[in-house]
């Protein structure tokens, strides 16, 4: 039983990392959103499994939030935004896909080295879980850093947050997990609304640097 528990959660968490890699690989916005929806579904599965094996019913709420909000509402909303704002559908990369993948692998290796050594005393499940979660967090951040489109950056942030939820649920008995996942969902909602309201069409750095400096009165 223990080994089955372990294998399933292991493979789900591993799947999450894999899907993070897939995100790095995407060069179309729509496909990125789809991959992200897959990410969220996988997360929701992983959380459900954790709820089951930890016998923690409140985690089902978290899983439900992940499924409904992140796998369905957000991708749909982003689809609409892309359409309505007429966002260019290619993903502009600041760093090429190849180097990004390499960097991603480096990051995963780094988190493995760190976490596996770190949590030698903890139970294997938590250990693996943490290592994967850290990988997901770092990969999410990598997406944010290397992609120029606002939408892909939001996606990066959300996958980062998925990593957090993974870690939180993997930490057995951790209180406040639900609250945290709710809080984060609100945060993400804010971001998405922000994009829509402020018409940040292309990227976070859409504003031309020079214009930005003038508005700050800092240019000389």
């Amino acid at each position: 039983m223990h080994s089955l528990d372990f294998d399933i959660s292991h493979s789900l968490a591993g799947g999450l990392v894999l899907i993070s890699f897939m995100m790095l690989y995407q060069d179309r916005l729509y496909s990125l959103l789809n991959v992200f929806a897959l990410h969220a579904v996988t997360l929701s599965l992983a959380v459900t499994w954790q709820a089951f094996i930890q016998d923690a019913p409140h985690l089902y709420v978290t899983a439900a939030i992940a499924l409904v909000f992140k796998a369905i509402i957000i991708p749909v909303a982003l689809h609409r935004i892309i359409r309505q704002l007429g966002i260019h559908r290619d993903i502009e990369t600041a760093v090429g896909i190849g180097p990004t993948m390499l960097a991603g692998m480096g990051l995963v290796a780094l988190s493995m080295v760190l976490m596996l050594r770190v949590t030698a005393e903890a139970d294997a499940l938590a250990r693996e879980d943490l290592a994967f979660a850290l990988s997901v967090v770092l990969l999410g951040l990598l997406v944010m850093v290397t992609r120029r489109n606002a939408v892909s950056q939001v996606v990066g942030f959300m996958s980062l947050e998925n990593g957090l939820v993974l870690a939180a649920t993997g930490a057995k008995g951790m209180p406040l997990v639900v609250e945290i996942s709710v809080a984060f969902s609100i945060l993400i909602a804010f971001i998405v609304i922000g994009i829509f309201l402020f018409r940040i069409r292309e990227r976070f750095d859409s504003v031309d640097v020079a214009a930005l400096d003038e508005s700050r009165g800092e240019r000389r």
Partner: protein, 671 residues
Amino acid sequence: MLTAVAAQLVCVAALLGIAVLAVALSRAKAATALVYGATLIVCALALIGALRALLAGTGADEIVLPIGLPWLGAHFRLDALAAFFLAVVNLGGAIASLYALGYGRHEHAPQRVLPFFPAFLAGMNLVVLADDAFSYLLCWEFMSLASWALVMTHHREPGNARAGYVYLLMASFGTLALLLAFGLLAGPAGDYGFAAIRAMPHAPGEATMVLILMLLGAGSKAGLVPLHVWLPLAHPAAPSHVSALMSGVMTKVAVYGFIRVVFDLLGPPNWTASVLVLSLGGVTAVMGILYALLEKDLKRLLAYSTIENIGIIFVCLGLALAFQANNQTLAASLALTAALFHVFNHSLFKSLLFFGAGAVLVSTGARDMDKLGGLIHRMPVTSVVFLIGCVAIAALPPFNGFVSEWLMFQAVLLSPSLPQWGLKIMVPAIGALLALAAALAAACFVKAYGVSFLSRPRSEAAANAQEVDHFSLAAMVILASLCLFAGIFPGLVIDALSPVTQQILDSRLGAQSHLPWLSIIPIAERRGSYNGLLVLVFIAISASLGYLAIRRFSSHAVRRGPAWGCGFSDAVPQAQYSPDSFAQPLRRVFGTLLFAAREHVEMPPPGSVKPARFSVEIHDLVWETLYGRIAGAVDTASKRLDRWQLLTIRGYLSLVFATLVTLLLVLAIWS
């Protein structure tokens, strides 16, 4: 009954009270008279207290107040060294207040001076009294801050803002250096009390480090080259009575700090340390006076001359260090006496000269010597006292400046007894530098007096100048008489200084005041002696003899006529020697190397009616090579770093990301 130190602190509190009162009164008409009158009285009381403590020689008197650093309290101590410097401070303060009773009336923004003037005096008093590192630094910076506010009095005048800025920056630099020095002295446990520091042994390397830091810290306040740059900017920018205090007194407080830490707290020095002090002092003396020589702004000239005098004082201190390091305490006390004597002297004549410059400024509105001239006819009293100041500062007998330089040369002449070859060879060379500085000082003050007070007026304002008020004149006359007094009765001053050397070096010069004819014999009669009184009497007798003889035997006829101008009579006043042209020979000799001075002559071809043009370019190499580069480096660095401020959000995120990854990598590799 108050103890001596408590009485001094009461005076300080009174000064601070006056400062607060001045804020409240600043709009009132009588404020000027009230504030300066009150500071005059308080400073006079404090002066009496300090003199009593110095002359009575009752030993140290301490008090701890429950303020300042919480677990330490604020320690204050009045010993002979502090008493001497308190006397200098309060003498300067009292006379400056007297002067300001008249001079202050011409101030158009008194509310910018009145609160800070007493605060400044209080700060200087407190620095001298402070007996723990925290109080010391706090008071030190308070003093800087108050004087900075005074420098900013005339903030609208061009250049003054920059002067204040450079001043504040250098003051802060100095304070930080002092802070580091005290940090070293106090050790990791943080024993900031001077008593604890004095009791602690200090390793040689640490001592050298402290000395260097003190040279940076106290030296920047005193004006050692190359830390002097703020001084000629800031001192002249303040109102003249404040300039007098800054130049005459505040630099001495810096000297006090140096003596207190290096001689008192640090214990016996290493002789190599003295090499540093000596060479810095020598360079400062010569450079300072050369700058002064090239200057044509009267107050800046005086400020540069302050740098020279500080150099002289530091040379004396370096000599004292050298002798002390070799246990030749009598010689050390001679050198220290010379230093302290010069401290006293310089506070007198530099205040006098700044007062004179202030009087000139009031009556002509000009500091630029190119606009002065002929004031000896319009300002009879000022011109006499200013002349006395000039003679005194040029180290000419029978005035006081000569006595301290004479003592210093006596100390220099004792240097062959030093065992170290480096010092043996170096000290005479430094002595020659000082002789050069003295001669240049004479040249410089011939120029200052000759151009401003003698010759023909170079501007309308100078031609119509009026003598200043009686308060100002009284202050200047008092200082001039003190200059003469200290010059002809040097034995009294030396005896008054002996408690200080006794305290610091455990050695003193023989008592002088009972010697016949009031001579001074610092070491032994066969080594050298001097009698200012007799020199004065001789000169007076000879001059009167000459005068009487001439009155008796020669023609009395006097005919007034135009000056001989080679046939060109009635030349315009601009044809006279100007400050620049007066300095030209010496500029040619020294300037090419030290100031990268170049003369450009534009001579029209024969037959052309165009005027010939002559211009001189002078570079302040210290400023350009050192400060200019530092400013440039800061500018470049900030420009480069500023690029990191113009990133996009993604850029910033990348920074965060990079930091995270770096830290994780470090963790992965390190653990």
